[in-house]
């Protein structure tokens, strides 16, 4: 394994590489988790290479340092008041609940696509339309007059 290959591998192994506290020359790389590392042999090759290559050890030190710097950047904190307001705004922006006519339209569309026989669909549509029509006062009055109620 040459230095370039080791650098590439270290970029992924850096998560699990660590230094023993009092021996800067030796490196410990944890056994790769199943399915997470390319293979054990690669990690072992890197370990062997690191034991003899000052340049690659320096590269690993730098990678660890970069990770440490990244982790110094703490996550933002959100106050409870802000979070409550966030939820309120999130709910306020939701589209309004569909009205009666939207529901009726959706129902007709669903009916059109249903496997019911044509006659059954026709009866359902006519029945619903009649009930709805009777909700309109003018039509209701006209029907009452016609049937003599």
């Amino acid at each position: 394994m040459n230095c370039s290959e080791v650098h590439q591998t270290l970029l992924l192994l850096v998560d699990d590489a660590e230094f023993p506290s009092n021996d800067g020359a030796a490196f410990v790389i944890h056994s790769p988790s199943p399915g997470r590392r390319r293979n054990d042999i690669q990690a072992a090759d890197v370990k062997t290479h690191l034991a003899t290559c000052v340049r690659c050890r320096g590269y690993l030190v730098e990678l660890r340092r970069v990770q440490a710097i990244l982790q110094q950047s703490h996550p933002p904190e959100f106050s409870n008041a802000y979070l409550d307001d966030f939820t309120r705004r999130a709910l306020r922006q939701l589209p309004p609940k569909p009205g009666l006519w939207t529901c009726i339209k959706d129902w007709f569309l669903q009916l059109e696509q249903s496997p019911l026989p044509m006659v059954a669909r026709g009866v359902a549509v006519l029945g619903t339309a009649s009930v709805l029509a009777l909700q309109i006062p003018v039509i209701e009055s006209a029907v009452r007059i016609l049937i003599g109620m």
């Binding site: 997470r36 970069v66 990770q67 990244l70 950047s73 966030f86 709910l91």
Partner: protein, 194 residues
């Protein structure tokens, strides 16, 4: 801190149940989903943009889109994964203004710095600023893998699921992103030493 590895469920109702109820028009169920994932969505958006106001916008938009698309959510991925994908996509498309203001946090969002002396705080601010700049300089597809891995503690597979890419691509992007970050941050660090 929330992360991919954590369970965020603060009650026994599963996401699947809440999604199903929200689909039927139950606003309270959707509110529960918002409460469950708002911190995560905000944190991820903030990490992706380094801009608190943009993070707020992105997280709001993500929940709105999630709500509008609930009917198309088939449950192949978890709601969390699906939501995070929306956040990442929105953040990647977000156009930051070229001249960044000194973090104009909406009230209630604070950049946390550990208790430290004034000098340390100043140093930490400088470091945080360089980290933000280094991350912001990364292309969105690199930035997203770094943020999900380093800050949200997601596994390669979780990142792959969120981004909708193979785990091998996650690994190659992460390697490249780390190399770029090393280059930028080591330049800063060496500059500090001289």
């Amino acid at each position: 801190m929330t992360s991919c590895a954590d369970s965020w469920n603060d009650d026994d109702t599963s996401d699947t149940t809440l999604v199903e109820r929200a689909r039927r028009g139950d606003r309270a169920a959707f509110a529960s989903l918002v409460n469950r994932y708002r911190r995560l969505a905000l944190s991820l958006a903030w990490r992706m943009t380094s801009d608190a106001a943009a993070a707020d916008d992105i997280a709001q938009e993500a929940f709105l889109r999630a709500f509008r698309r609930l009917d198309s959510f088939r449950g192949e991925a978890s709601f969390k994964t699906w939501l995070l994908r929306i956040v990442v996509n929105l953040a990647a498309n977000h156009r930051r203004s070229r001249k960044r203001e000194v973090l104009s946090d909406p009230a209630g969002i604070e950049c946390h710095l550990a208790t430290a002396t004034t000098t340390q705080i100043s140093d930490q601010h400088e470091i945080a600023e360089h980290v933000r700049e280094a991350l912001a300089a990364l292309a969105p597809h690199y930035r997203s893998v770094v943020v999900l891995r380093e800050y949200e503690n997601c596994s390669y597979q979780q990142i792959a699921d969120i981004l909708g890419i193979p785990a091998g691509t996650v690994m190659s992007r992460l390697a490249k992103a780390r190399a770029l970050l090393r280059e930028r941050l080591m330049r800063f660090w060496k500059g500090q030493q001289t």
